[in-house]
Symmetry: C2
Subunit: 527 residues, 2 copies
């Protein structure tokens, strides 16, 4: 029997709250004990990866209580309920099925009269067949020529995730000869976004993907018109250049305006849609369906680990629990995500949405205000770039910011140079390792300006190389981490009521239905 | 006589600390009073812009104390000392002269035996002459052909600022027929960064700019070798394809490895170098020297306003004071920068460095630990994209995040569509206006899930259009804001000792001079 309880009502949480300042990283990470922690404080992930939390402010005592907390909060049972098809998104009264787009974790799930796993697989197969035909020159533009680029039109989850995944695999695909066509993305309602993208692509040889679950997202429909205008200006029939990714019930689903339509449904939140048709169409067109399938396999393997009830075998659950300890007990309000991999340049922006939109809530699942803090601010840039930017504050600022590093042994493109006896890849890896220790142990110095207090916690996810599989695993890890944290905070991680008010007011402004301050602001901007 | 005192020793600050929860935005922004605030709580900026702080939690009483604080902290005197050439960067014993790259605010400043304003102007003239020759086909590649792209090799301040400025003007330049050549940037030591950029440019027709003040930055020298390898592989002479931007005393300054070298000096911090030769070379090559000159004029005009002693006439000082009030009295730890302009897509990343690297310090100018918080975390993405991402947390999360909006009346490219009776640009502007009011006033709802508490403070900088001038003004505004905040916190905003420890440890790793945890981590990554 699952009970949805607030975090601060749990005995284990009360116990955890008493465990503050237990672990001085400076001491525990020094000497042989530090090496021992690196060896032991590691949870295996799928696809040869590992989540290492040696440099987090935890010890065996804290871990024991985190384990009790996981049990008392029924994290595994709640996950099980989710993947077996319970209505976990209570606000919108919806199932939460993104894991089902990449594998079957439990029972068959039936909704809307169909087996949902079969539905998602069928969409993947339809997309694969479509992409294969585009690549084979069987689906062509009006002039009978092959399409050479794909342009996704979408915003939020229809943009950030697919874009981050595309950038993560673009160069890998090029060197592995699976690169089929360039992808571009139009998202912002700012007309300069669409105008710039369109001026940089060969419109006549582009296939456009319109992504909107409801078929009513203002930005996306506006940008669709923008694109249609551009096609018309070149004398082209937009319906021969455009496909839709939408829900079966949306006005876009059966429209003759599109070459074809591929479906998602209400059980896939936008920010969790990279493994659904939303990511599937653009990634299959860009890299081929096989690569997209490998990406799904990587995610599915990682999902399996999230079923483990032992936190030492469940990397996402461990990560989630440590995060809640840092947020609610140690009091840290922000987390930095720092991938040492240029391919992951927009991965932090995607996590920013996934995490902040899911758990940036003040009410619990029952709509009652909670008395503790929930989701933190997430930000990040790739290392080593960040080292020459905001790391100053991370090292010597007055606030402590927990850090989430990601690193890979091998580069993606395998082009490298040896300077001062090391390759660039070795320098990259040396830097991430050095940073972890610098943050943990700091450095004494008589000159306070050169003094590093240390005790700044970090974890690292290590992998062999950023590939479709490891990318899928990385994505699933963070999705599941955010899910477990939502369970702990007892919030509904799958709705986003906080985005509504702005939309309503924007409509008022456009309808000139405004007064007082709103009108005064509108006048400032000549609306 | 200037006295450098800690913030918490100032009488005005003590008074300010008593002014908490004075202003309920929900009430003061409602009705006619809200419109009055929008009209009155505005500081004119240069180039037709304005800094509007109506939706900040201040009232006349708070503003009076902020004004006292500005006076007691001697903000204007300190700025004067800075631009007249005092050693403001006490840690490194250096003058701080970035404002001098764009205008003369006070006395002549002589250092290293030369008039520094003349030195900076001479570099600009040399760059302009060089760029003109490149554009005219007088400086050409080995085959006698015109260069068609420029690639900047630099990291941190040699990358983020120039890149953000380039992106901000790229599309504007294209529609205004001042676009000369594409710019690309290589920064990360990750070999995939250089490899990807080089695979996407026409190397034989590219001119590379190596940017390193000291001529010793590891990432940059490594990437230089990377580029030289690529040139050699095409049978090209690297010295015919590369210029340097460096200090006159660096090993790069007189090297025959470069077509030419342009200079900066120790008085320009990397994160303040966009208006120096560091930004000058790439922006003049990309857009022409006239556009770079207009960018400098915009910044110079804004610098003039920073001299005003009246905070109501000094937008940067007002912004700085309100920020310190929010950080130290109201207790907000993070600030989001949200430009409603796709051209400013990387402007938040630049501000992140500028702000966090400048003021992320725990010791004052004398190397004594301070007992108050200093620089906040800065993050942001362009609107409306962010609305479909992390705004959920901003609206309904448990922490309050102050917001800094930027908006322009006109788009840059002037290509637009009318959908539902409004252009995309009108929708964009309607959205930013709506967001300000939604954050300030919130919305009552019986369903707590749809309830918005409001009282979430924001400011907006409004301009006519993002042009070279307004971009320069925007940049100068934030540089000067960060400077004034550094004065208030009594920190040295112009050094960055916090980045050193990581460098030292990375060298140890590469030299295999490591043990214990460092070695264990290195083994994880196969170094």
């Amino acid at each position: 029997m699952i009970e949805w309880k607030n975090l601060d009502t749990l005995d284990a949480y009360k116990k955890l709250s008493g465990l503050k300042d237990e672990v001085e990283l400076k001491s525990v990470m020094a000497g042989a004990n530090g090496a021992k922690r690196v060896a032991e404080y590691s949870v295996p992930m799928s696809n040869g990866m590992a989540y290492n939390f040696a440099a987090k402010q935890v010890d065996d005592q804290v871990l024991d209580v985190l384990s009790e907390l996981a049990e008392e909060a029924q994290l595994s049972d709640k996950f099980k309920a989710l993947y077996n098809g319970e209505v976990i998104n209570t606000g919108e009264k919806r199932l939460v099925l993104h894991q089902l787009t990449r594998g079957q974790l439990g029972d068959d799930v039936t909704a809307d009269g169909v087996n949902k796993r079969e539905f998602y697989v069928r969409q993947q197969e339809r997309i694969a067949a479509f992409a294969d035909k585009v690549h084979a020159g069987e689906i062509v533009n009006e002039a009978g020529e092959k399409f050479t680029s794909v342009v996704q039109i979408g915003i939020g989850g229809s943009d950030l995730g697919p874009r981050a995944m595309y950038l993560a695999l673009e160069n890998w695909a090029k060197v592995n000869n699976t690169f089929k066509m360039e992808a571009h993305f139009i998202s912002n309602v700012d007309p300069d976004d669409a105008a710039a993208v369109l001026s940089g692509v060969d419109v006549a040889h582009s296939i456009f993907i319109l992504v909107s679950k409801s078929g009513t997202t203002l930005e996306t429909l506006t940008n669709e018109s923008f694109v249609k205008d551009a096609l018309k200006k070149q004398g082209l029939d937009a319906s021969k250049h455009m496909i839709a990714v939408t829900s079966e019930t949306s006005p876009l689903a059966k429209s003759s305006d599109y070459l074809d339509a591929f479906f998602m449904d209400d059980y896939i939140g936008g920010r969790y849609s990279s493994t659904s048709s939303v990511g599937g169409a653009v990634l299959s067109l860009a890299f081929g369906p096989d690569i997209f399938a490998r990406f799904l396999q990587g995610a599915a393997a990682e999902d399996q680990l999230a079923k483990n009830t032992d936190i030492k075998k469940n990397p996402a659950m461990m990560d989630a629990l440590i995060g809640v300890y840092e947020r609610n007990v140690l009091g840290f309000g922000t987390t930095a995500v720092l991938p040492y991999s240029q391919g992951l340049s927009r991965f932090p922006a995607h996590l920013q949405q996934m995490d902040m939109e899911s758990n940036g809530k003040s009410v619990n699942r029952f709509g009652e205000k909670v008395d503790y803090v929930t989701g933190p601010v997430i930000f990040g840039e790739p290392g080593t770039n960040g080292q020459h930017s905001f790391y100053q504050l991370l090292h010597q600022g007055t606030d402590i910011i927990p850090l989430q590093f990601v690193g890979f042994k091998k580069s993606q493109m395998a082009t490298d140079v040896v300077i001062e006896n090391s390759t660039s890849q070795q320098k990259l890896c040396a830097n991430v390792v050095a940073q972890i220790m610098a943050f943990a142990c700091g450095k004494d110095d008589e000159n306070a300006n050169k003094y590093f207090a240390g005790n700044r916690p970090s974890s690292i996810i290590v992998g062999d190389q950023l590939t479709p599989e490891t990318l899928g695993a990385l994505l699933a890890h963070f999705e599941n981490k955010v899910m477990f944290q939502g369970f702990l905070w007892n919030v509904n991680s799958f709705d986003q009521e906080g985005v509504q008010l702005g939309k309503v007011l924007a409509k008022k402004v456009l309808a000139k239905d405004m007064e007082d301050a709103l009108l005064a602001y509108a006048n400032l901007l000549d609306i």
